[in-house]
Symmetry: C2
């Protein structure tokens, strides 16, 4: 059963014609007679011929593969982005090669080498938390491989990006907290060297400012996962310096805070309101279900692919980098009070 795969030459030999004729016949070239075309197509179907894309790619020195580099596959947000990428890529005849950096800079660099080696058509990437040097991506561009960044981006890169409007999303979240009566709102945020962290932070600040609420630095924390949120929230309750609202940088963190608060005897949302960010599957599963910000990951993936494809078919010499911003939506559930 260990069969070689059938090639154009096999068809040519069986039919007693040349490989070039078979090639042309298969793509309906006008130079080929109808009978020959018919014979070729029939035999090709019978032998279950599939073109060898390796040879094809080698010939025209470009492949139909889109590379994707992400920090971690298991995050719901990233898998929804990839889902969007895969669907649109598939619809356009491209395949998707994935590589997770596992938040390791070395591995991320290594993956870019692999992408280069594989001569992918282009690369979509969300950088790892540790990445502060972007030379490896520039290297891809220098070798003619377009790069489009999504979600996790950096300001200094002058390349195509598609990001979520984190500032506005954070603003909406905090503004809603205020509108529902919260006066002392904490922010559980992530590292500031990622734009995403900075922008959400600024959105938070802006909402306070717009509503004439003074900024209280003692309510702003670096805290971006479940366990940290548990610990921090527990400590806050014990300290007696409890806020009446929390805006967390992601759903996991929000739920950590939510559960800790409940565990400490607080009622959500009566005693404290909590808002997350991402609208992952888990946000509907908590008790109460979490008010959060929808990031439209699937659409983000599709847009990234579209930008890449556009650039590939344009094939221009110089390219003006573009930044696409995706609007967020506030999803109101029961971890916040209603607007009265």
């Amino acid at each position: 059963m260990k069969g070689r795969q059938v090639t154009i030459k096999d068809i040519a030999a069986e039919l007693g014609i040349s490989a070039s004729t078979v090639s042309r016949a298969l793509k309906d070239h006008p130079d080929i007679s109808v009978e020959t075309k018919k014979a070729v197509n029939e035999l090709a179907a019978k032998l279950n011929y599939k073109p060898n894309v390796l040879a094809l790619s080698l010939r025209q020195s470009k492949s139909k593969i889109i590379g994707v580099i992400i920090p971690e596959l298991i995050h719901h947000f990233f898998s929804s982005v990839i889902s969007g990428i895969d669907d649109l890529a598939y619809a356009n005849g491209y395949s998707v090669m994935i590589a997770q950096s596992n938040e390791s800079f070395e591995r991320e660099v290594n993956e870019t080498q692999v992408m280069l080696s594989s001569r992918v058509a282009g690369v979509l990437v969300s950088v790892s938390k540790k990445t502060k040097d972007f030379a490896h991506f520039q290297m891809l561009e220098d070798n003619g491989i377009p790069v489009v960044f999504f979600d996790r981006v950096s300001k200094e890169m002058k390349m195509d990006k598609v990001v979520v409007d984190d500032f506005d999303g954070a603003y909406k979240a905090v503004d809603y907290l205020i509108k529902t009566g919260c006066k002392r709102i904490a922010h559980y945020g992530t590292s500031m060297h990622l734009l995403i962290g900075k922008n959400r932070h600024n959105g938070y600040l802006h909402a306070l400012f717009k509503n004439n609420i003074p900024i209280d630095d003692s309510l702003i924390f670096k805290c971006d996962d479940y366990d940290e949120a548990w610990y921090l929230t527990e400590k806050l309750v014990k300290s007696g310096n409890m806020p009446d609202g929390i805006f967390a940088v992601n759903d996991i963190t929000a739920i950590g805070a939510l559960q800790a608060a409940k565990h400490m005897g607080l009622r959500v949302p009566e005693d404290i309101s909590i808002v997350g960010f991402t609208n992952g599957r888990i946000s509907t599963m908590s008790d109460p279900p979490l008010t959060t910000i929808e990031q439209h990951g699937y659409e983000m993936g599709q847009i990234a692919v579209r930008i890449l494809l556009n650039r590939l078919e344009k094939d221009e010499e110089e390219h003006e980098p573009e930044t696409r911003v995706i609007k967020t939506d506030l999803i109101v559930r029961d971890s916040t009070k209603k607007i009265s």
Copy 2:
């Protein structure tokens, strides 16, 4: 900036030697003098030379790409499997090409064609719910591309498989419910034409049998998602025919039941105990956190890769299909009572 990529010929030309010498120098062939090797390696580093794997794969008619076909990327379980696949593949110098069938049979067939066209080294697949005909996978094998199935498999396929011990997992879950005092245990199950559904169902039955509890058909339901579980549980409570334990086929379903039960005024686990299956991220986020069965998705991915790689390096003519069964673990949380 739109640069061609550096090839072995470029190095050869610049150094005034032949391409074959460069090739041999790069892989430390003994035929090449130390000085030449040094010169080649230095220039290769300077020019940032990366071998073109397309050409390489074409030459030895086999690539270093592992294809993966799955129903849906966004399921936590599948993304953890892929994570395991990717990590081990990466460690062995392979890349991973993914393709989601979106539970569509046509697309699944199509993806196998793409895999064949891409001349991948092997394919790992979890079949779609709609797949009842496996000819397209046999076609891959006939063309010399090994296939390893995981999780969603079918009995009649005589190929390599790696599955979770669903029967035993279900048994453990239900047995635990019984040991903690439940007498009337419902099963929210999935379609029986997937082995996974049948095995979990049988595990449920076996646990009842072993504990001398009569089987009550009115407690067995086809119900495998969040909304269905909500609706069904609500109906059960209203009917007054409420069970005191539920074994659900997955976490999502379990949480749907859990929330509906709470919403109807029942206490979990005092009035009703609930066990899920998968141990996804969400199972820690519900209130109370869900008792469930750990499926070891990450390990499953790694094992699938290992089976594939073994087969690739063996390269034997005839191959005896192997089935690996992964043991599950019961994860006890607070949606069930304690053993007294």
